[in-house]
């Protein structure tokens, strides 16, 4: 599924992306799930607005970090969130 080249990930309508001040991390809230975002997780999800493919997200992330980004890591992170219903 993460190998789906045409997929343009979009954060699910049911999800709320916000800062958790108690745990000092960013979280993605769904009706039945909380995903704690580590590392560049938040930056990746901010790019998931349905306009970019996984490849384009990886590239945009690389530009923002001015360095190469592990494409496999991004793809597997997005694939996992898709399975959990966090991404459409």
């Amino acid at each position: 599924m993460s190998a789906d080249r045409a997929w343009r990930p979009r954060v699910a309508a049911s999800a709320v992306l916000r800062r958790d001040h108690v745990r000092r991390s960013d979280v993605l809230l769904l009706p039945e799930r909380v995903v704690v975002l580590h590392g560049s997780g938040r930056a990746v999800l901010d790019l998931c607005d349905g306009s970019r493919t996984v490849e384009e997200i990886t590239a945009a992330l690389g530009r923002a970090h001015s360095g190469p980004v592990a494409a496999d890591d991004v793809a597997s992170f997005l694939g996992r969130l898709r399975t959990q219903g966090c991404l459409r």
Partner: protein, 373 residues
């Protein structure tokens, strides 16, 4: 998450709050897991008391609240309660039977900031759903689903599964899709409260379960990314206990209609907890220090054979309420575990051949004279 905190350290903060706004409900579901003795309406927390609970919960680290019951729509101040939860910064989900969810009511809830709705159905077939609910509610549910999705609110469908609807799992998934849900929870009955009285009548057969589990696997694969399917395993059959509530006092807390705070909604039935009340104690103290929340937290209290088991940090010895209901001792290994000395007695309960009729939930506190099973 570390299961055992260092001595003197605060436990990790809770993630979720189950707010049981009322025990009143128009439905008469025989599987109802609410306690036999329901809280009277006159003893329910007021709006401002709930607002205070939400503020304290958010400060403690709670991120989500499920506005539940009973039927929360029976609270005339549900809009104000919802707004208070949203203002506290919580993600709010309404857990409802849909009875009483008019367009005007939903508009007011959306206006208050409600994030999500979970709708219960009892069967995919309207007549059978109404019969199981003991109330002509199916048409209202279908209409409510439309109202929710029309407003762009995410919809979840929930069905409690048992002998009388497990064969409809495929149809329930189809219903969830047709109604525009983005998730469906297929939860095999957990036998607590009223539902425990009906255990024999609700107990599925192994064949039913195997077929349903297969259907779920197939539909999950087909619908990945379209519909999120949650399957709550029937622990009487699995041989492995559930990590109840993700561990005692580890993930979430429940506040009952009268303000009693408990690690889980079924824990009201446990002896010796001395349950604290939010009207008398700060939520932070309740979570970190009360006897009710610390008694079975972590792994230090575990009995044998759990304390040496490789799975002890996965299931924490299983469910305390189930251990108490089936053995009379809340500190024993959950009999759902195949390693429990009481497991054979539990397995025997899954082999009842002549199921009794379901006794519909009664509104008051009066249980039928005879406890089934």
């Amino acid at each position: 998450m570390t299961p055992t905190a260092p001595v003197g350290a605060e436990p990790p903060p809770p993630w979720a709050l189950l707010a049981e706004l009322t025990h009143a409900c128009p439905l008469r579901c025989g599987y109802c897991s609410n306690p036999l003795e329901l809280t009277r309406r006159s003893r329910e927390l007021r709006t401002d008391q709930w607002a205070d609970v939400f503020r304290q919960a958010a400060e403690l680290g709670v991120l989500q609240t499920h506005l539940s019951g009973g039927e929360p729509l029976l609270r005339r101040d549900l809009e104000d309660i919802t707004r208070a939860a949203v203002e506290a910064g919580l993600h709010t989900q309404l857990v409802t039977s849909a009875v009483g969810l008019s367009a005007a009511r939903l508009d007011a809830l959306v206006e208050a900031g409600l994030h999500s709705v979970q709708l219960s159905v009892q069967h995919a077939d309207p007549e059978r759903s109404d019969a199981l609910a003991g109330h002509p509610a199916f048409a209202a549910k279908r209409a409510a689903a439309r109202l929710v999705t029309d407003r762009g609110l995410p919809l979840g469908v929930n069905a409690v599964l048992h002998r009388h609807n497990l064969d409809a799992v495929d149809d329930l998934v189809r219903l969830a899709l047709d109604w525009g849900a983005d998730r469906v929870e297929l939860a095999n009955t957990q036998f607590y409260g009223w539902g425990l009285l009906n255990r024999a009548a609700l107990m599925p057969t192994g064949e039913q379960l195997a077929a349903a589990a297969q259907a779920v696997e197939r539909r999950r694969a087909e619908l990945a990314g379209v519909l999120d399917i949650t399957w709550v395993v029937p622990d009487y059959f699995s041989g492995t206990p559930k990590p109840c509530m993700g561990g005692w006092g580890a993930v979430s807390l429940t506040v009952a209609p009268d303000g009693t705070a408990l690690p889980c909604p079924a824990a009201a039935a446990l002896p010796g907890l001395d349950p604290p009340n939010v009207t008398e104690r700060p939520l932070r103290w309740i979570w970190a220090e009360s006897r009710a929340f610390t008694l079975y937290r972590g792994t230090d209290w575990l009995p044998s054979p759990c304390r040496d088991c490789d799975r002890r940090t996965e299931d924490f010895g299983g469910c305390r309420c189930q251990a108490h209901a089936l053995t009379g001792d809340a500190a024993r290994t959950d009999p759902a575990c195949s390693l429990s000395p009481d497991h054979a007695a539990l397995v025997a309960l899954t082999r009842a051949d002549t199921p009794a009729a379901i006794v519909p939930r009664r509104p008051g506190g009066r249980a039928p004279g005879r406890v089934v099973g």
